[in-house]
Symmetry: C2
Subunit: 215 residues, 2 copies
């Protein structure tokens, strides 16, 4: 069965998945980079950026499993890039260089149609202007027997969560306070009762929690 | 030196210190009791309610240390009781029975003056209608060389935190989603930068985090 997953999404103690004032120089907002330091300390995190070394611990195990079994990815436009409004003439093709680490179709939620962008290594960015259900339908179709990953940001995950469309979510709770930014959990309302935490475990850096849909 | 402390304040994964719809039958809101189950599993938590047994683990160590060195307590009126508005003729004297577990002066924030209530065992509830600074001044005076505990609820702690008046805070992050309620961390803003997490450690039930003022 295909599942809709969230993997290693990092939030601060005060609940933010990105800090305040996101822009091209601060893609994760002010202080938001603190949310991902634990990743770049791990072996698999360092491998992702072409570096050696790194820890082989529980953090590494969680990060290494990030795309295991995943056949398609969904992300919000603000995760794809810093531009807002119509696309215009820009040639932005994501934060991840010429060969992004996805190696499958990545469906980008947007209000503005845009042609697909084919990258090296099997990643194609496909732009969906029909809403979260349309993006999920296209991603499920592309994933085949594999799972669909909702990569982020916070607002995108929150929309899928409120709609009860996430099956299994692994979060990293990072012990920092950001003071503001984009919250992951905001007025989940009754959909919260459909989820339960089935695992929580600490490394010296973060607490990993795993939440599953129980209904 | 006297410090202003928060001890074992429990919040959900989605950041709530109490669930939605607080009233006399649900003093912690709907689902809010889930936040404190870890306490009543410990030896010191069970002792507090006159029961035997319980775990002697890290949760117990954190809870047992809750009032060590504390000479006065501050709480919001909504933690003291379910009544809102003027006090009227009621004889409410807290949730804690005839001999509350404080054994010192407890300063209750309120907008409505009310005579002190002396309880058995050394607890006196004193009602302060002059705001958070006035309550802190009175509590520091009462505590002498000892520390002042800001017991809760979420809104009271948040006010002291925003004002930069908390020195050391121990929280228990409980792996449940409540979906709504009273948030501890809301728009801390720049005061967040004055705090850092100096410890975080998991039990099978919760993650304990300790946050200190660094500036």
């Amino acid at each position: 069965m295909t599942n809709v997953l969230v993997r290693n999404f990092s939030i601060s103690l005060d609940g933010y998945g990105a800090g305040p004032s996101q822009d091209v120089e601060h893609p994760l907002g002010i202080g938001g980079n603190l949310l991902h330091e634990w990743i770049f300390a791990t072996r698999s995190g360092r491998q992702m950026i072409g570096a050696d070394g790194g820890t082989e611990d529980i953090d590494d195990a969680f990060f290494a499993a990030r795309d295991s079994g995943v056949g398609a990815t969904i992300m919000g436009r603000n995760m794809f890039g810093p531009l807002r409004g119509p696309w215009g003439e820009n040639e932005w093709s994501g934060w991840w260089g010429e060969e992004p680490p996805f190696h499958h179709s990545v469906f980008v939620l947007t209000h503005y149609p845009q042609p697909s962008i084919e990258m090296r290594g099997g990643t194609t960015f496909r732009f969906i202007d029909g809403g979260i259900e349309a993006a999920l339908e296209a991603a499920l179709d592309a994933a085949g027997e594999r799972d669909v990953l909702v990569a982020g940001g916070a607002s995108t995950i929150r929309q899928y969560l409120r709609a009860g469309l996430i099956d299994d979510m692994r979060l990293a709770m990072v012990p920092v306070l950001l003071g503001g930014g984009e919250r992951l959990f905001e007025d989940l309302g009754p959909s919260a009762a459909d989820y339960e935490c089935v695992e929580h475990v600490c490394s010296p850096s973060v607490t990993h929690v795993r939440i599953q849909r129980s209904k």
